[in-house]
């Protein structure tokens, strides 16, 4: 089978059009960044506090916002993270930070007020929110299995820790439990079972993740990221200059900068959040785009040796056409996986996948219409100069 046969496209003819198109995209990105007042930095860079809450029923986000404000958290952003019936994850974030942990407690308190527990008297622990450590130490305290905790403390602890692990493991498989059926199926000792039923209630929400990043960390991270980008580009320029020639290096780096700038712009236009995995994705874009560019350059290098008489313009076009089939195939298979991450990979890496999607498309485009034209332009100028000298 063959999707792309022998082609004779005059790629270089479109270089000015491509430059205009790239310019347009870059400009759109810049305008968007300016209009949004900067990039929408995630907690990794901006610092702040965020919790991910799992709800049993679809929460009323406005009511939640009001409750949070009443608890003293006015500037919270609330975002739906996962919306599946019975499994609703909501992300609550505030730019405030507080290393004492009081802020997190306030968010917990607001959640309690928004979604008050329905507990029978004596039930003071939320089974859906309790940690293994807490359940273990409560079991140890109540001691339903009547261990002699003075003599046999270690044994009691191990037994209770095991019970806690089994019971909460069942819960973690599901997310939120609303009845004892799943725990009953474990066939725990009836004394433990009845103690649990007397001590625990089932909350309708649970915090499944919390993050706090101080402002210093964010600043350091931005600096590190810039450093990583800078040195990566410098290293690549050096490598390509060594393996090919300096003009190829400039072409490749121009294409990389082009790709990264457009990808950043795309993040701004779609108002997506710029976080740490996205940086990883950007460096991956650099890697991918380069991969593509190097394959084209390799062909130009090879054709320069085999067909010395051919003018530069034709040689570049020939090389682009010869590698076009491969360029499209690799982009295609990479897009297949990137799209499957975007659609099925879950919310945590969604932005990461989006960055890759933009990167693969722009990276493919740039090796055809940015890297090669820049190289052509530099090489032509050098030829002109040497002609004039003569």
């Amino acid at each position: 089978m063959r999707l792309i046969g022998k082609t004779e496209i005059d790629f270089l003819r479109y270089r000015r059009m491509a430059a205009a198109l790239s310019g347009l995209f870059i400009l759109a990105g810049i305008v968007s960044v300016v209009m949004h007042g900067g990039l929408r930095y995630g907690i990794d860079f901006a610092g702040g506090t965020q919790v991910i809450v799992l709800f049993a029923e679809h929460p009323d986000l406005d009511a939640l916002r009001v409750t949070l404000a009443a608890q003293g958290i006015q500037d919270a952003t609330i975002q739906e993270f996962v919306a599946q019936p019975g499994h609703e994850e909501v992300l609550i974030r505030t730019p405030q930070t507080d290393e004492g942990g009081a802020l997190i407690s306030e968010i917990y308190a607001a959640l309690e007020r928004y979604d008050p527990p329905t507990a029978a008297p004596g039930q003071d622990l939320d089974f859906n929110a309790a940690s293994r450590e807490v359940v273990t130490s409560r079991l140890l305290e109540s001691n339903p299995l009547e261990f002699d905790t003075v003599v046999d403390l270690d044994n009691a602890r191990t037994t209770y820790a095991d019970i806690a692990e089994r019971a909460l493991g069942t819960r973690d498989e599901v997310g939120l439990l609303s009845s004892w059926d799943a725990v009953d199926a474990l066939n725990l000792d009836p004394r433990v079972g009845s103690w649990m039923k007397s001590a625990f209630y089932f909350g309708r929400h649970a915090v499944v993740g919390q993050e706090f990043v101080g402002p210093q960390v964010g600043a350091d991270l931005s600096r590190q990221t810039m450093m990583a980008m800078f040195w990566a580009l410098a290293g690549l320029l050096a490598y390509i200059s060594y393996r090919f020639e300096f003009r190829f290096g400039v072409g490749a780096v121009a294409a990389l900068l082009h790709d990264v700038v457009i990808a950043v712009g795309a993040f701004s236009i779609t108002n997506r959040e710029f976080n740490l995995p996205v940086v990883a994705a950007f460096l991956m874009i650099v890697g991918y785009s380069l991969n593509d560019t190097v394959v084209v350059f390799d062909r130009i290098r090879e054709n320069a040796q085999t067909q010395r008489r051919q003018p530069l313009y034709e040689r570049i076009n020939l090389s682009l056409n010869q590698t076009l089939s491969r360029t499209m195939l690799t982009s295609g298979t990479t897009l297949m996986v990137v799209l499957s991450v975007l659609f099925f990979g879950g919310p945590v890496i969604n932005n990461f996948a989006f960055a890759l999607l933009v990167g693969v498309i722009v990276g493919t485009y740039s090796s055809l219409f940015v890297a090669t034209p820049v190289y052509y332009w530099l090489a032509e100028r050098a030829l002109e100069a040497s002609r004039k000298k003569r």
Binding site: S131, E133, L168, V217, A228, A232, A280, L283, T334
Partner: protein
């Protein structure tokens, strides 16, 4: 089939089998990052300047005491920031005597004298400050390590960030209760026993008024922790206590969970031999008086000394079982030399990580299926080569990750998925080249040879450049991103091996059957 192909085939099968051996069983061999298995990631900063200031302040009061003992009067004294202090005297003679004492007792300080008014400025040089900072970080690291050991976490990571920084990274896989852990690590855990001189009073002011408005020398006022005794709430009280403790936490031999006379949780302690004698003599001489147990400058309880106490006792407070356990733990593990501040806290619950793995694997299998179908459809027979190379690729990546103990993170899974898409690239390059050569009318064998040799430079350069990008990612990245870079780097290596070697051997197998056509 020629013998050398068989050898190569054997080698490939060996690599695959060895990878499987390394990976199996996957649950235990592959290290999952905190974002996948759940746990707590903390970055904390040791407030090193506090340790410097504490040291300077202690030396300052000690020097003043020494001068007092020598009957050298001062006109005025003041601390200059955190790193030094200035003493002003009434005469140059007194100043010179003071200088002599300072030189003798505090040789590490830099001393400067000024004539009018006669004064002495005492400064801790930068090198000494750096030494104090360094030792504060090391000691904190050790204390935190002790506390976490005592807490009982499997495979914790406790390390300094950077070689000389004051930041400490703590990763605790599988721990779910971030607030408890944070409290546990933050407690300074400076424990002291101090004799009560007066109190309790309802407020600091009323206590001071009872003393005639002046604090007696070498005493201080401390607040007690509110507690509940027999169901009755006892509010915080204020006590006048001796500044110098009778014994201190560092003289403890052991601390453990215990019970008070009411059967409530308490912390039992044993003093070391030296302190036992001191404590026994002191309590024997002070029967009937109150002894305050002070933790981080708050009085936990102030029991009356009923008899001479040897080396063992209990600390009573309104503790829950968990609090008493944690207190015993921090006392065993030792005190922090300076306070700590949390810069970063990321806690992932076990259910969130589980969901991430499930979705990551789903996305990976869908992506991989699509790529496999496409390759088989597009390249037919040669597509089988690419698919085998792809599968082997994944095996090798996982195998190497298991062998070097690398951590698989969520971005790492994404990286692996990406690798699936990209690793066919090398095969595509070769296959397209072979097709070109076939189109030129070459025989199958020479087309394959030419395809591999001409595609080689492109594959090498393309992969090395991607690896350069990944290396920088590793160098500058943190946590999950590092995991991603590692996955990518291993993947590139594996991809070059499978495309250049494995795929080649498979082609050789084809042609060894003397087929004159190639399904590509």
């Amino acid at each position: 089939m020629p013998r050398n192909i068989l050898y190569k085939l054997g080698f490939i099968v060996g690599v695959a089998a060895f990878s499987v051996f390394l990976i199996y069983p996957p649950g235990e061999q592959i290290n999952l990052g905190l974002d996948l298995r759940g746990g707590i990631h903390l970055v904390l900063e040791v407030m090193v300047e506090e340790a410097v200031a504490g040291e300077v302040r202690a030396d300052y009061s000690q020097l003043l005491e020494l001068l007092d003992g020598e009957d050298i009067g001062t006109a005025s004294t003041s601390l200059d920031g955190d790193t030094g202090f200035t003493l002003t005297f009434n005469s140059e003679l007194e100043r010179d005597r003071a200088e002599g004492i300072a030189v003798e007792y505090f040789p590490v300080y830099t001393l400067d004298i000024a004539p009018a008014p006669p004064s002495l400025s005492v400064r801790l040089p930068e090198t000494e400050q750096a030494a104090i900072r360094e030792s504060a970080v090391r000691q904190s690291l050790q204390t935190i390590r002790n506390r976490i050991d005592q807490f009982g976490v499997a495979e914790p990571v406790i390390q300094r960030q950077g070689l000389s920084g004051s930041r400490i990274l703590v990763q605790l896989p599988g721990v779910e209760d971030p607030e408890r852990v944070k409290d546990l690590l933050r407690t300074s855990a400076v424990l002291q026993w101090k004799l009560v001189r007066n109190g309790p009073a309802d407020s600091r002011e009323s206590l001071l008024a009872a003393l005639g408005g002046v604090l007696p020398p070498n005493t201080e006022i401390l607040e007690s922790v509110p507690e509940t005794v027999n169901g009755v709430d006892v509010p915080a009280g204020f006590y006048l206590v001796d500044e110098i403790p009778v014994v201190e936490g560092r003289e403890l031999k052991n601390a453990r969970l215990s019970q008070d006379s009411m059967g409530l949780p308490a912390v039992g302690f044993s003093l070391d031999a030296n302190a036992t004698t001191k404590f026994a003599n002191f309590t024997g001489a002070n029967i009937g008086r109150q002894l305050a147990i002070v933790l981080d400058n708050r009085i936990q309880s102030a029991p009356e000394i009923q008899s001479r106490i040897a080396g063992d006792g209990i600390i009573r407070g309104s503790y829950t079982l968990e609090e008493a356990e944690d207190l015993a733990l921090v006392l065993r593990a030792g005190a922090l030399p300076a306070s700590i501040q949390y810069l970063e806290d990321r806690s992932v619950g076990p259910s969130l990580g589980r969901e991430s793995i499930r979705q990551g694997l789903l996305a990976a299998s869908i992506g991989m299926t699509l790529v496999v179908i496409f390759m088989l459809f597009y390249y037919r027979g040669a597509g089988v080569n690419a698919v085998v190379a792809l599968a082997l690729n994944l095996l090798i990546v996982l195998g190497v990750m298991a062998a070097i103990g690398a951590t698989l993170t969520l971005p790492g899974i994404a990286g692996m998925i990406l690798l699936i898409g990209m690793s066919v690239d090398a095969n595509v390059l070769i296959f397209e080249r072979i097709r070109e050569e076939l189109a030129l009318g070459k025989t199958v064998r020479s087309a394959i040879d030419a395809g591999f040799s001409k595609a080689f430079s492109a594959i090498l350069d393309a992969n090395l450049t991607t690896m350069i990008a990944a290396l920088f990612l590793f160098q500058f990245g943190t946590g999950p991103v590092k995991g991603f870079a590692v996955t990518i780097t291993i993947g590139i290596g594996a991809s070059m091996f499978t495309s250049l070697f494995v795929s080649r051997v498979m082609f050789a197998m084809w042609t060894s059957r003397r087929r004159e056509s190639l399904s590509i």
